[in-house]
């Protein structure tokens, strides 16, 4: 599609990005999102076929990969078993609970840090360095304190989800243009109206970006902790199946986790679009 552009790009000595808008003019008729989706579908299909051929011909024997078609088949087979739904339900409960608790905590903390800058500055180094979460490493401590159950996973995942949201909320609120707050004063808004009517909508892009991070962290945290030790849940099941050498079912579970996380990512991208409609 981009063939027409190539010659004109050879004129400058280096492969510089041409000014915005000039590139891919021929392909502009198809929106970028659709082209991207199609391209990734093609890539995935190619990968699928390559692995299928590789496994079938024995070239990938060392990796222990089963045939992709078999994985799809056994995943569909899983959907009929009660054990799968109990693992799935447990993981979804953990993720859901930690998203809700983490968002409440993160948003609250972000607002408090904004209102009380001293507190925000004191917590900042801790938040910044725990942002990338060696927090998962606290899990063995949590299971000593709380026990091996959903509670300890939910507590840690909520904190993991809350931290990026708190940081983003604070940064977003600090970046509000003063004129917005002046408007609130002119309209004699009370504290609540200022916060919900003006401050939070003004900081929405940062807050929504933080929400996306929070969801990803809740998912990663929950599954990683289940994987370490648990009694139930998708992450735990993968480890269990690995240790019992049930390769085929294990790959089906891995496949389910991949699909679950991709679904969450897509959902969050859509939510972002809805929440920030009309801004860009």
């Amino acid at each position: 599609m981009a063939v027409g552009i190539e010659p004109s790009q050879q004129a400058p000595p280096k492969r510089l990005p041409p000014p915005r808008g000039a590139r891919w003019r021929a392909a502009q008729r198809v929106p970028q999102g659709v082209r991207s989706a199609a391209a990734s579908a093609v890539l995935l299909a190619v990968l699928f076929v390559l692995v299928q051929i590789g496994v079938a011909s024995g070239a990938l024997r060392q990796t222990g990969l089963p045939l992709p078609t078999e994985v799809v088949g056994s995943t569909l087979g899983l959907l009929g078993t009660g054990g799968f739904w109990s693992d799935f339900g447990r993981t979804c409960l953990e993720i859901g609970a930690s998203i809700v608790a983490g968002c409440a905590l993160g948003l609250g903390a972000g607002i408090v840090f904004w209102k009380l800058p001293l507190l925000g500055r004191v917590f900042e180094p801790y938040l910044v360095s725990f942002y990338a979460v060696p927090l998962v490493l606290f899990y063995p401590m949590m299971i000593v304190l709380v026990g091996i159950n959903a509670g300890s996973i939910i507590i840690l995942s909520s904190i993991m989800a809350a931290i990026p949201l708190a940081l983003n909320t604070r940064t977003g609120l600090q970046g509000i243009r003063p004129v917005h707050l002046k408007l609130a004063r002119t309209l004699q808004c009370n504290a609540r109206q200022t916060l919900f009517g003006i401050a939070i909508p003004a900081a929405a892009p940062m807050i929504v970006a933080g929400l996306r991070l929070a969801v990803v962290y809740a998912l990663i945290g929950s599954i990683a902790m289940e994987f370490t030790t648990a009694q139930n849940g998708l992450g735990y099941r993968i480890r269990y199946l690995y240790e019992t050498f049930d390769n085929k079912t294990m790959f089906a579970y891995i496949f389910v986790v991949l699909i679950l996380s991709v679904l969450l990512t897509v959902l969050m991208a859509m939510a972002e679009r809805v929440l920030l409609r009309g801004r860009r």
Binding site: P125, Y126, S129, A132, V133, L145, T265
Partner: protein, 246 residues
Amino acid sequence: MTTLTKLRQSQFVGAVVLALLASAIWQISSGLSFVIPSPAATAEAFVQNFADPRYLRDVGETAQAVAQAFIIGILLGGAIGLLLGLSAAARTWLEPLLIAFNGVPKIVLYPVLLPVFSLSGSKIVMGVLFALFPVLINVAVGVRGIPPVYWKLGRTVQAGKWQLFVHILLPAIRLPLLTGVRLAISLAVVGVVLAEFFATRFGLGRVVLQAYSHGEYAQMVSTILLLILAAFTVSVLLWRLERRVR
């Protein structure tokens, strides 16, 4: 008075006070429950560990894996990020897949990596997978955000490819790049240690789980603290550097 207000405004003092407060809570709660080792017992285990050659070997093993994962992760993430930032075609083909993969809990892929990269290699690969993404995303976004004027300047002075990279691209993206590097170090630690929780011969992750199953909680907490302190120190240093560069 002025020194007092200065003290109050100092972030460092506040952070230290917060740490002391946390230790006080820890001390009190250790008196309430026998599963919580007291700070003193933990500190003792912390010091004693370093006299134990086997422990030192575990530390070395983990440190080496983290360092390798960190370096490979930064290089790989930087390269893919550059590709995504500079080439629209790469964006079209790879961006959605990379975004989706970023949201995947990568630890579930560990059983897939094990037969391919063996026991010692897999934890490095896991660390790389964790450390890769913050660098990748920040570099890609940073490169895309470079004002076109910069490129025009480069063209005007007829800079070579390498000169463009060193004198225009790198300085322009230094802030997001540093942020990515800072996140990468903690994530490399997480990736390697999580992998060690799962299966390994040597390493601190194994020490933690072993101490857990033997009920040696002081040993467990001191090892976790060592890991967290290491990641914390490096990322705070990088964060301060980041603020100075800005």
